[in-house]
């Protein structure tokens, strides 16, 4: 080959490799960001579902009317990656809030419910159950 010694790489190849590295590096950063936001959205969706189901469960107990009853709902764990973690459940008035801290980030979702006037709603941390108790 004229003007090019054996074993030397061409400027074209060098530039091609350089461009490939830049493109792949940029894509990796973008994909990583997108993956992180999807993971956050996945966790938020789970919390929203848990909060909504729990609130609907409490509201449904209105069907029991004014009789003495205890109704319990096992609150499901939140899945992230390959692990599952129990969320914290707090009840304030007619609002149920489900929250969790994953990887230093705090997530939380709330939902409103209605309950029979004489009923109490509490979350039992030991059994991870939402308990609606009506003692008349």
């Amino acid at each position: 080959m004229k003007g090019q010694a054996r074993g030397q790489i061409s400027l074209d190849l060098m530039m091609a490799v350089l461009v490939s590295i830049i493109v792949i590096g940029t894509l990796l950063v973008v994909v990583e960001n997108v993956q992180a936001s999807y993971e956050d959205m996945f966790i938020e969706n789970q919390l929203k579902k848990i909060a909504s189901e729990s609130a609907a469960f409490v509201t449904s107990t209105n069907a029991m009317g004014d009789v003495r009853f205890t109704a319990e709902l096992k609150v499901p764990k939140v899945q992230h990656g390959e692990t599952k973690q129990a969320p914290a459940v707090t009840i304030d008035g007619d609002t149920i809030t489900v929250s969790i801290s994953i990887g230093g980030k705090d997530f939380g979702r709330s939902s409103h419910f209605s309950k029979p006037a004489t009923a109490t709603v509490a979350f039992d941390n030991a059994t991870e159950r939402l308990v609606v108790n009506n003692i008349v």
Binding site: D12, M15, V19, V34, K49, A56, N62, D94
Partner: protein, 142 residues
């Protein structure tokens, strides 16, 4: 750098972009499904609460609420009574709005018709005839 290589790189970038866009669309679809399921669950729970007797039903002489009844002189109910504070709600019975809100621009609307026995409180134990019924329509939207 050849033109072939440049074209190949552009195609790779475009195809990865297209794949990411599809994944994003799928995520929004999941989110939308969750919103709809949430609305459905809340509407069902509200319908159960409405037919439970304590909100719009009658009570017997000893004060016990009677399920599946509609008190013709029903006291006012609120969205909070149905656990639907965050939603647009419309409840109508006998062309009377028990809760009236504009559902116009809502993306999803769930409609539940409840057929309840008309009554007035206090009602005798044998008071439900099953003949004179009232359809109560619950519309929940978000």
């Amino acid at each position: 750098m050849t033109l072939d290589f440049l074209i190949a790189m552009i195609l790779v970038v475009f195809s990865i972009g297209a794949m990411m866009q599809l994944a994003e669309l799928r995520t929004y679809e999941i989110k939308e499904n969750i919103e709809y399921e949430d609305l459905q669950e809340k509407a069902e729970a509200a319908a159960i609460a409405l037919s439970g007797g304590t909100l719009i039903g009658c009570t017997t002489e000893n004060g016990t609420a009677v399920p599946f009844t509609y008190n013709t002189s029903v006291p006012g109910i609120t969205k909070g009574d149905l656990g639907l504070k965050d939603y647009n709600v419309e409840v109508t019975a006998d062309q009377v709005d028990l809760i009236a809100e504009d559902l116009g621009s809502a993306a999803n609307v769930i409609v539940v018709d409840l057929e309840l026995d008309k009554c007035s409180s206090p009602m005798p134990i044998t008071g439900v005839s099953g003949q004179d019924t009232q359809t109560v329509t619950l519309k929940v939207a978000k």
